[in-house]
Point group: C2
Chain length 410, copies 2
């Protein structure tokens, strides 16, 4: 009954899995207005210059800068106002020597003019003449053609996650449709004879399904579409047929397995029979989460998560999230929210495995403390009560009270 | 034509606005499985203890710990195996002295037993007898009733933003429905005679709408529902009637105003006539973003954003995002992603206003540098090229090259 795990480090395990997975990114074309937080798969360059015409940055008068050289309050320059540039239209006027045209912020600079004087730096003499009280330099208060972006200038590389301002930048150039990575569809199957749907009342020995919901949340946050596929009993035939159906509709399959040795074997057998090559990694040097199964079935990743809620979330964070990012071609994964804090208690570990410890953050004595939330990995409220996790690295056998630690916030 | 602004600091402006806004949170009841990133408005306590029965954390034998006291490999304890606890069911067996029952991880501890010995620490003698090779303590490898949470224990306070593990925690207790803040509906009206929809090709003097999309993105990220209401020309009647219709269907109205003095006045007049009390703040000590308008019309917040894309995003971040959080009753706004970096260039400012400067992050010489992306606030690609912003505080007249600065990532 005892089982020998051939355990890999988390980094090695991920490498082994990635080596057996196709590296192509599924794409789709969507409206740019719907593309927030989606991952670009195309390289985009500016189809035209922005702005396409010189624009004023001020309310004032467009003029020839040289006409104002030397102007001061006591020795102003006199200019004839020959008209106004209406917003949203080209000027029909050309500005000649000693002439000026009224322009508004964002309006087009008329031909002949090369600068704008702010209205506050002028004085009206009469209906058609002004004094300019200060010299302006050529180009002053003007945005040049292409000053925002020039035609042909690279805008975004593939793998970029689109932010609010990026959508604005696309729209400014008329790029109203973009090719992005399709959101990976992740089927989630929960197993266990003791597991029941949360809306039912458990009888003796029964517990409600937790992992379907924690994993669905992680999937959504990583850009995937969670497809909960319900609960399956602990027998080979049921699990294999449920896994088959689930994987058909999905790009990734997650099996939240039971935690007993027999159900772990069951999951491994199902993954092996679901499609070639089957199990790639069985057992990872991480606590909690050692009995992790990583497999590839007919080109699709299949993950067997330990059934304990804490283990399931740690393992999903270590493997499922990077898989989903890779499937979307993410180049720079978003910087996770990470804080530095002082550890409030000793944390023991053993060398040769990564330990993930849930911590609560507390501010005391002008100092941010990371307080370990000690609790068995079977306890979902260990995670609920925590603000984040810290990692005790592979080569460490523990961390000391008072040490500075990096906490990844949930 | 020049206009005197009565400018408040950003903090004061927000206070003035909040003082005139109702503080109640609109709520709705939704399925817990759909509640990721939503804000709880109710206080929740555990309706029952979790687990509801004592559970094994190991595959092994449930037994009376005292029967194993003193057991070693050379002097094992002998126990009679009287049966097995099936997963998901109560045990029909009671464990007496010198008896043991097979249990699996997550299975129920049968009456009479108070500990579990791992299967690896035992040896089978025959079909119904084992040797226990090591003593176990009472409670060892057992999760007690209520060890995860106890009945009545507080779970979440109002204002908590639900994370993946929180959904799991709710489901574990059968809380399949929760009362959360309704997502505030934010109508966005773009104004400007020169502004056209992005799918059209601009003629001379015309530009494509940008702010509708950047603001919609910010709204979605802050938990709101963006309702883009199109583009309106720069005249009082059109803007007032568009604003009326937009505000009727929405909880918040954002008007992305033109940037010329005349269109700013237009927006202020419309906000004053849209509902009482109207404009609360006109002008804020922030750059970019000084011509901000904050108003309250018939109990709903109305924001007049400057038309420049950079100003619009800075101001939306300073005012719209906090308004949306308050409307949802958020208690601890998510820690924004924030990094410390070294400033690569001097940044000038003047005391008495907050300056927001876009920066790009670059790693050089083992050091993270914040490189200002200098650019006029009319340039959307100033934001696109940046990784985040830094704030030069009110009382500072600039930052020096080499200074350590905090960068809020986009």
């Amino acid at each position: 009954m005892p089982e020998m795990f051939k355990v890999l480090t988390p980094a090695d395990a991920l490498r082994v899995l990635f080596d057996q997975l196709p590296s192509d990114v599924l794409e789709e074309s969507i409206a740019s207005g719907e593309a927030l937080d989606r991952v670009l798969v195309e390289k985009l360059a500016a189809p035209s210059s922005l702005p396409a015409f010189p624009r004023s940055t001020m309310d004032g008068y467009a003029l020839r800068a040289e006409d104002t050289f030397g102007a001061t309050e006591s020795l102003p320059a006199y200019l004839a106002v020959i008209g106004e540039v209406p917003m949203g239209r080209a000027s029909e006027l050309a500005v000649g020597p000693a002439q000026a045209v009224v322009v508004y912020t964002g309006g087009m600079i008329p031909p002949g003019a090369d600068a704008v004087v702010m209205v506050e730096r002028t004085q009206k003499l009469d209906a058609s003449n002004i004094e300019v009280l200060r010299a302006v330099a050529p180009g002053e208060n003007v945005i040049d053609v292409g000053e925002d972006v020039k035609e042909g200038e690279p805008l975004f590389d593939p793998g970029h996650i689109l932010r609010p301002q990026d959508l604005g930048g696309l729209m400014a150039l008329g790029i109203t449709q973009v090719t992005v990575a399709a959101r990976p569809r992740v089927a989630i199957v929960s197993t266990g004879d003791e597991v029941i749907p949360p809306e039912l009342t458990p009888g003796p020995g029964q517990i409600r399904d937790v992992n379907t919901y924690t994993i669905a949340g992680l999937v959504a946050r990583a850009g995937g579409v969670p497809l909960p596929r319900g609960i399956v009993g602990d027998d080979y035939e049921s699990l294999l047929s449920a896994a088959r159906v689930a994987l058909e509709d999905a790009d990734v399959l997650v099996i939240s397995a039971g935690s007993s040795v027999s159900t772990r074997d069951l999951t491994a057998n199902v993954v092996n029979d679901l499609g070639k090559p089957g199990v790639a990694v069985h057992g990872v040097a991480v606590r909690p989460g050692k009995p992790t199964i990583l497999g590839v079935c007919s080109g699709k990743p299949v993950i067997g998560l330990p059934g304990n809620p804490v283990s399931a979330m740690v393992v999903a964070g270590l493997f499922l999230v990077p898989i989903l990012r890779r499937m979307q071609g993410v180049v720079n994964p978003p910087v996770r929210r990470r804080l530095t804090a002082k550890l409030s208690h000793n944390v023991s570990s053993v060398t040769g495995r990564e330990d993930y410890v849930q911590v609560r953050l507390a501010e005391r004595d002008n100092q941010l403390w990371a307080e370990p939330v000690f609790g068995k990995s079977n306890l979902i409220y260990t995670l609920v009560k925590a603000d984040g996790m810290l990692c005790v690295p592979l080569d460490s056998n523990g961390l000391h009270r008072g040490e500075s630690v990096e906490v990844e916030l949930f």
